[in-house]
Structure formats: structure tokens, C-alpha cells
Subunit: 143 residues, 2 copies
């Protein structure tokens, strides 16, 4: 597993309210047709996303109501192939990670898996066929 | 506030255990003389840090025991001057952020402040006189 974070996703209760907050801080969302489903902010070589808290927990396969299981934040490690999702998850398994979701297709067209680190911090390992990790390890949705 | 994240800090129960986990994933800590106090991993233009959960909550001015107040993760936005800490916090205040800690000196020699976004996600705004944000907005502890 390379040293990088592709996406930090903040689970939020109200997408329009959170988007307005970050815009008031001076941030500009990536132009995509996602409406109020999800919001992305390009932050250098990584992305900060806003996503409904309940759906984020569901995506990771944890309960949104158990605060000791779900911090409300996930980190994503993106890779360029499905094979790398498997390789990364096997490495995490060997390192002692708890695998919360085995590699599988996702509704938005990608392929992913989730593991938890020793303190329950959630990592998504994802292959998004619509974007690429460049040769410097950066995840760029919009320059 | 520029679009960037300088540090993602994961609150952990046991630094040696967490460090061993991330090393088993293939990550290599920044070479610093911090022993088991804190661990940094350079991840492209940002850093992932491991820090004791209780101390992280204390640093942010929240209770580590109240799971609805403290997710166990903080995001840091680093700036190059104390003045920028104040400017950023005033912008956050205007945007409706809850200021958890007004700008002040920190024991390690820096200057910082904390705010919470609408969902309680914690942002540290920090000036670290020993490192610089470069002109591309990157926070580099070790190339």
C-alpha cells in the first residue's frame, strides 16, 4: 500500500448546509452533476467529500448509530485496477485489519472494499474506472 | 481558506501498535525524534499522523469520552504565519463555525486554533514555525 490518501469523506446530516459552510470558507466544489447526493472538493492531490452520514456508514458496512463503530469519517485509498483492490485488501488482512466489506462492485460503477485499522478508523480501498491515480499518486477530479 | 488539508490525525489507543499496523501496510514514518509521542507519514502533499486519542481530544478542547463531540479524527489546515491563523478563524467564525479553541500558543512551539464544522468535524488551524506550506499548498515534512 502506497503512502497516500485519495479522499477524506466527511459524513454530514445536511448536504446543502455543509456545502454552504465550506463555500463560505472559500472552497469551490468540483463541477459534477451530483446535485445534493455528494459534494467533492479538490484539495491538491486529494479530494475532500461530503456525503450523508447514514449512507456513508451503510457504504462501509457499519452501523451509523454505534458511535464506537462509526466516527463519521472515512479515508479512501484509490487504485487503478480491481486487482489492486484485492492485493491491498490481502495486505491489510495480513497486517491484522478487520475487513468490513470484501471486494465487490459498487452501485456507482466502481469496485471497492473496506477495512478498519486497530482503532476502527475506516479505509475504503476503491477502484473508480472514471478517474485515475496519476504517476505521482494523486487523485485528481478537477485541476 | 485555501482548498487543502495539511494533516489528517488519527486518534489511537496505542501508538506502537498502530505504527506497526501502518508499517505492515508498507508505510514508512517520517524520521523524527518523537519516539512514541506522535507518528507522521508523508502522503504526497499532506501528512497522516497517529496521536493518542485522549491527547488529541484535549488538544482540540473537547471531551474524549463524548463520542458525539469527538470522532477521534482531526483535520489540520496549516498556514505560514500567526496572522493567517487569526484570519482563517475569523473567516470560519463568519461562516458559522463553532470555535472550540481561540488562537493561542501551543506547547510544541506552534500557534493554533480549532473550529468545528456543522457536523462537528474538527479542524485545527495551525502555524508550525518549523515547517512551511509551499507555494503549491503542500505540507512537506519529508520528501
Amino acid at each position: 500500500m502506497k503512502q497516500r490518501v485519495s479522499i477524506v469523506t466527511l459524513g454530514v446530516e445536511d448536504i446543502p448546509k455543509s456545502r454552504a459552510f465550506y463555500k463560505a470558507l472559500g472552497w469551490k466544489p468540483v463541477q459534477h452533476e451530483h446535485g445534493d447526493d455528494i459534494v467533492f472538493f479538490q484539495c491538491g492531490g486529494m479530494v475532500v467529500a461530503l456525503y450523508p452520514r447514514d449512507l456513508l456508514a451503510q457504504d462501509a458496512g457499519v452501523s451509523p448509530d454505534k458511535k464506537d463503530q462509526f466516527s463519521g469519517i472515512t479515508l479512501a485509498y484509490n487504485v487503478n485496477t480491481k486487482e489492486e483492490v484485492h492485493e491491498t485488501i490481502e495486505q491489510a488482512r495480513k497486517a491484522g485489519a478487520k475487513i468490513l466489506k470484501e471486494p465487490q462492485d459498487v452501485f456507482w460503477g466502481g469496485y471497492h472494499s473496506y477495512f478498519a485499522d486497530p482503532d476502527g478508523h475506516l479505509w475504503e480501498v476503491a477502484h473508480n474506472p472514471f478517474t485515475l491515480i496519476d504517476d505521482q499518486g494523486r487523485f485528481i477530479m478537477e485541476e
